[in-house]
């Protein structure tokens, strides 16, 4: 899935899911935090889009806006559109939206232990969705729950369906979460840092499971993560976020070969490698910006090693670099040509 068309040429509804120029702000006592500042991305069936960013970059808030689970207030969506099969989710009445949430677009969260209810058995929690959504009988729903637990490869599912979340290990809990998310056969699965709380060997199991399910069920998968290693392993495309904007978007091979934004370059340089022992790690100097007081011009300019005057004054547009690749840097072309050093 490396060659896709440029995003602007297709009309609304051409993609399974499309976020278009989304803005989100949080109104707090201390002021307005501009968390999302014009995010656009799209997803096709059966592909994996990784949304990469550090804490506070807005990657989870975008997902919450798609799911419609943002707390409003304090959150507010001043503008933007989210198309699912050509229909704008943000303009839909709540009951229609509710029919899509969970049925069509489903989400799994980072911390499975706090996302599960400790006082109900996992079988009850998985079958709850089926009972309320399809009116299935208790017995049938529980049978289906066992099938789902089998599908996510929980061993001895029949015996364990009556167990409670605390009786499962971290990896197994995450599998229970995935089983719940799959209950209604969604077309889009949003996974928000699904393996961050897990050990590496278990992380590998869960990532394999997600990849298998995506292929077998032809789901679109949005993988939200901060881990550049996980992304390289599973993603088709990557959207890198910084200060509420997608600053670079490309297929996974191009971005690792030659980043077209200084932030992506800095991120890639600052991770220690397993295969070599470097001397000193390259760092990105400074701190991520305060969302209440965003810098002028390019939001990355206070930390950027290639900063020019234009970066302080003008917000860079998202430049098309061909092959669906975009970069929000004034000097993206120069970066790709290797002229910035």
């Amino acid at each position: 899935m490396t060659d896709f068309e440029v995003m602007t040429t297709r009309p609304a509804g051409a993609y399974l899911l499309e976020v278009r120029d989304l803005f989100v702000e949080f109104h707090t006592r201390d002021g307005v935090a501009k968390v999302i500042n014009g995010v656009s991305y799209h997803l096709d069936p059966g592909e994996t889009l990784a949304v990469l960013g550090e804490s506070g970059s807005g990657k989870s808030v975008t997902a919450q806006a798609i799911m419609g689970i943002l707390d409003m207030p304090p959150a507010k969506i001043p503008s933007g559109q989210i198309f699912y099969h050509g229909e704008d989710l943000l303009k839909m009445p709540e009951d229609k939206r509710r029919a899509i949430r969970g049925n069509e677009i489903s989400m799994i969260f980072q911390d499975a232990l706090s996302a599960l209810n400790p006082v109900f058995s996992v079988g009850w929690q998985i079958s709850e969705t089926l009972r309320t959504r399809t009116g299935m009988s208790k017995g049938d729903a529980l049978k289906r729950a066992v099938e789902l637990m089998d599908q996510v490869k929980i061993p001895a599912a029949r015996q364990r369906v009556k167990d409670y979340p605390h009786q499962f290990s971290g990896g197994m809990r995450q599998r229970v979460m995935i089983a719940m998310a799959l209950a209604m056969d969604p077309k889009v699965l949003i996974a928000d840092e699904p393996t961050t709380a897990l050990d590496v060997t278990v992380q590998a199991q869960i990532m394999d499971l997600l990849a298998d399910l995506r292929r077998d069920l032809n789901m679109g998968l949005i993988l939200i993560t901060h881990d550049l290693g996980v992304v390289a392993d599973v993603a088709d495309r990557i959207a890198v976020m910084y200060a509420g904007r997608i600053i670079e978007h490309a297929d996974v091979h191009s971005i690792y070969k030659q980043p077209a934004h200084p932030y992506t370059e800095g991120l890639l340089a600052s991770i220690p490698r397993l295969d070599t022992k470097g001397t000193e790690l390259a760092t990105i100097k400074g701190l991520p910006p305060n969302l209440m007081r965003l810098p002028t011009g390019c939001k990355y300019h206070p930390r950027c090693p290639y900063k020019q005057n234009v970066c302080v004054d003008t917000v860079p547009a998202s430049l098309e670099l061909g092959g669906g690749r975009t970069s929000a840097c004034h000097f993206a072309k120069e970066m790709l040509d290797g002229q910035l050093r």
Partner: protein
């Protein structure tokens, strides 16, 4: 980073079992969680020993033992010729000065009601010999400068700092008493990638300047390789393989080390296709009831009858020059 070869800390067959009890009035012991079960290693002056392992393998309990925050069930840890678990009085006070700790979570390990000056200066209250009262403010400012913070921010509170800056405060506090050894328990795992690199570089710089020895505990194998001179791999309370970073990462001989390394996602999409990935089945068994013989045998693809009957020792075998606790230790390159 180069170590001078002098052994500063020798850990000998260290064991910590936590009892599992039943009953309230009449507590009876019904079992034990074998968190650390016979760990031995040496730490040289000026070197970094990395300890890696998955959650529940006992690496944090090991850290707490070395800080003497827990009493061991058995075993010794000899620091500068003396067993730390036999110390008392002034000797113990000196130990507390000499071995310091940097904690994982910079958000909960700093008291929100204290200013930076109070947090970093608090160790001086107890160990007055390090900095006399009038000299403290200056010492705190020196420490702030040393870890790359603005010395003028001395009267600020922790919430006014970012995660990376808070971890620097935690490091400054650990340095306050001029220790020889710092135990770092997952010091960068709560930080963002770009900030993580800054803190790792700081730790390396401080080691060069102050001649510190680190015990660096982490689950992130890439970070551990970057900072460590030697690495020990733990599984269910035991070190199963130990050696220099090159020996462990490029020439691993224990199946668990191999599986662990191959499970680390590489930031290189081109490697996706031709990486030989070992997928372990299942989860780590409970340390309350570890498998007989080799503890890894329940998840190991090489397991045979011998593995269930006989516990493999952490020794040098014919094949490789570094110790590995596997009957069938065999070199396999997993990191391309």
């Amino acid at each position: 980073m180069a170590s001078s070869g002098e052994v500063i800390l020798r850990v000998d067959n260290l064991v910590k079992h936590f009892p599992i009890t039943r009953g309230i009035l009449f507590r009876t012991k019904i079992g034990a969680v074998k968190a650390v079960d016979g760990v031995s290693f040496e730490l040289h002056k000026g070197e970094t020993l990395g300890i890696v392992g998955e959650s529940g393998c006992g690496k944090s309990t090991l850290a707490r033992l070395l800080m003497r925050l827990e009493e061991p069930t058995a075993g010794r840890a000899v620091l500068n010729g003396k067993n730390i678990f036999k110390m008392g009085g002034t000797e113990l006070r000196r130990l507390r000065r000499n071995v310091q700790m940097v904690m994982q979570d910079p958000y909960t390990s700093l008291n929100p009601r204290l200013t930076v000056s109070d947090i970093i200066g608090e160790p001086f209250e107890i160990h007055t010999e390090v900095a006399p009262r009038g000299d403290r403010q200056r010492r705190v400012q020196e420490l702030l400068e040393l870890v790359g913070l603005n010395p003028e921010h001395i009267n600020r509170y922790p919430h006014q700092f970012s995660g990376g800056q808070r971890q620097r405060i935690g490091i400054a506090r650990a340095l306050a008493l001029k220790p020889e050894i710092i135990v770092c328990d997952e010091p960068v795992s709560a930080l963002d990638v770009s900030i993580q690199a800054q803190v790792v570089n700081l730790l390396e710089k401080l080691q060069d300047e102050l001649g510190l020895s680190y015990i660096f505990i982490a689950h992130d194998l890439s970070v551990v390789r970057h900072i460590s001179d030697r690495v020990g791999v733990m599984y269910l309370g035991k070190i199963i393989e130990i050696g220099t970073d090159l020996e462990i990462y490029d020439y691993p001989t224990h199946p668990y080390t191999q599986a662990l390394l191959s499970a680390v996602p590489m930031p290189d999409p081109e490697a996706r296709a031709h990486r030989d990935v070992i997928r372990l089945e299942g989860d780590v068994p409970s340390p309350a009831n570890p498998p007989s013989g080799c503890r890894f045998r329940t998840r190991c693809w090489k397991a045979q009858e011998k593995c269930a009957l006989e516990e493999p020792l952490l020794i040098r075998r014919a094949v490789e020059p570094h110790p590995s606790a596997c009957h069938f230790a065999e070199l396999k390159h997993v990191v391309a």
